[in-house]
């Protein structure tokens, strides 16, 4: 038995050697360090921990196990998914897949984002929006960043589908961003998911300076009247009407809007409490595990360490900032047209990060008027933002998905 030969084989086949012996192995090392940083941000700083921990660990696993030219034992195989773009064959993927490739099928097929929307729908109370339907306009106004970032990405030389995927970061909606990117620019999924979830976690830092800059103190102290109570029948009819209307208008939104409204119907109809509970808790948690780890797995060194990643991070920040500004402009217009009855701070909640953006409106409002409670008023635009970003994604998918 050739002991020395065996030891040498073990050494050269190990991941430690692969960092330095394979093409681009050093990039894996960098990605492993990035995954540690993301784990730190998720665990110690509590930046969207439910998703960031899974994304970071998925990134760690794929960069520990996949090296170019040594991929047979890997958990995730980027080349399989590049081949998938050509032959569209899940059979080929299944034959050679690692564990995370199997998880990733759910992302690729658009299953996880839709199921997350089912859970979001089951957790969302659309009552504030029903009591003030005009707040839907703020959800539309806050999609401005999507289209400005899209245009910015075109200026920076991204292709149309890539620019659409980057722009949707401005919708501040992780599942929508993942859904659209998987369909249009799967090669950018890792950086886009990281940018979307990181900026969502940073909303309490990103939004307040913009809110302060765009509003006067007189606007910020406005106390809004109590909303009218919403009947049970309205809450039951709402998901049915929205699903029917929006899907007929933009069929590409069907997976997201359909699942969002199905989850909401489970919540409101009063006869499916068990299903609502499962969608909100068990199912949501299971899907989050699969979604986060498989999205993290796409962050292989070779794919992630590119100049375009920096552009995506930068454009994502621009998209978030401009979406916030768009919502505030909508809020200011409503403040003026209502004779000062609407506090424009609720406009920034039109970005769909639920309920973080509404909490920011509440916090900033209370900073200027201790007796002001904007939370329920801000929840209207906040949930409208979810519908707005799904419509924006549906439009972009209709244009570039064909």
């Amino acid at each position: 038995m050739d002991i020395l030969g065996t030891l040498q084989k073990l050494a050269t086949e190990s991941g430690f050697a692969a960092f330095f012996l394979t093409a681009g192995g050093w990039k894996n090392l960098v990605m492993i360090i990035i995954s540690f940083v993301l784990l730190y941000l998720g665990i110690a700083k509590k930046f969207e921990p439910l998703l960031l921990c899974g994304i970071a660990f998925g990134c760690l696993l794929s960069n520990l196990s996949y090296f170019i030219g040594m991929g047979e034992n890997a958990l995730y195989h980027p080349e399989l998914w590049q081949q998938f773009l050509v032959d569209h064959s899940y059979g080929n993927v299944m034959r050679h897949a690692g564990l995370l490739d199997f998880f990733y099928i759910g992302v690729k097929a658009g299953i996880y984002p839709s199921l997350i929307f089912l859970g979001v729908g089951a957790m969302t109370d659309f009552g504030p929006l029903l009591s003030n339907p005009k707040s839907l306009l703020l959800g539309a106004a806050a999609q401005l960043g999507v289209f400005v970032a899209f245009f910015g990405a075109i200026l920076l030389g991204f292709t149309g589908p890539q620019a659409a995927s980057i722009g949707i970061i401005g919708g501040a909606d992780g599942p929508t961003a993942i859904f659209l990117t998987t369909k249009l620019a799967p090669e950018l999924l890792g950086p886009i998911a990281i940018a979307a979830y990181s900026y969502m976690a940073l909303i309490p830092l990103i939004q307040p300076p913009i809110m302060k800059l765009m509003t006067t103190e007189k606007m910020r102290v406005v106390k809004m009247e109590q909303s009218r109570p919403v009947s049970k029948t309205e809450k039951i009819l709402f998901p049915i009407i929205v699903a029917t209307f929006v899907i007929l208008l933009l069929p590409a939104t069907a997976p997201l809007i359909g699942c969002l409204m199905l989850g909401n119907l489970f919540r409101e109809c009063g006869v499916t409490d068990r299903l609502s509970d499962t969608a909100q808790n068990a199912l949501m948690n299971i899907v989050t595990i699969f979604l986060a780890t498989s999205v993290g797995a796409t962050m292989t060194g070779d794919n992630f360490i590119q100049p375009q990643t920096l552009y995506i991070i930068l454009l994502g920040l621009v998209a978030f900032g401009i979406s916030t500004a768009g919502g505030l402009v909508g809020g200011i217009i409503m403040y003026r047209t209502s004779g000062g009855k609407i506090n424009p701070l609720i406009g920034s909640a039109g970005v769909s990060a639920v309920p973080m953006a509404a909490r920011v409106s509440q916090d900033v409002g209370r900073r200027y008027n201790k007796s002001n409670f904007l939370l329920m008023h801000a929840m209207g635009p906040n949930v409208a933002g979810v519908i707005g970003s799904a419509i924006a994604a549906g439009f972009l998918l209709s244009v570039f998905g064909g």
Binding site: L130, L144, V146, F150, F151, I154, R228, I391
Partner: protein
């Protein structure tokens, strides 16, 4: 139009069109929701008119019975409820008896002359 390699003009056009489509979709949805709300409000008013709420009847005066297991009311003189709770807990602990086996009648702050 080449949708992969978009020109700046085409990109701007799609961006403007997209924002308009989002607004249009949301405005139409808003109108539908407003219509639903109006119908519901009108229905609620109609029902309220058909079934007028009876005048409120003065509720019967019920003398509150002491909660089971309690030893009646405790009278406090110049003492905060919080201080009283602490005093009762200290007494129970010092005597080695559970609090529900002790009966406190009143607690009064003794002021220095």
């Amino acid at each position: 139009m080449d949708l992969i390699n978009l020109t700046i003009g085409s990109g701007a056009g799609i961006a403007v069109l997209g924002y308009c489509v989002v607004f249009l979709g949301i405005v139409m949805l808003m109108l539908v929701v407003m219509l639903l709300c109006r119908i519901m409000i009108a229905k609620a008013k109609k029902e309220a008119a058909a079934n007028p709420v009876p005048d409120p009847v003065e509720p019967l005066r019920v003398i509150p019975a002491p909660a089971p297991g309690t030893a009646g009311d405790l009278k406090l003189y110049d003492t905060d409820p919080r201080d009283a709770a602490m005093i009762m807990a200290i007494v129970a602990d010092t005597l080695g008896k559970p609090l529900n086996e002790l009966r406190f009648i009143s607690i009064k702050e003794v002021k220095d002359e």
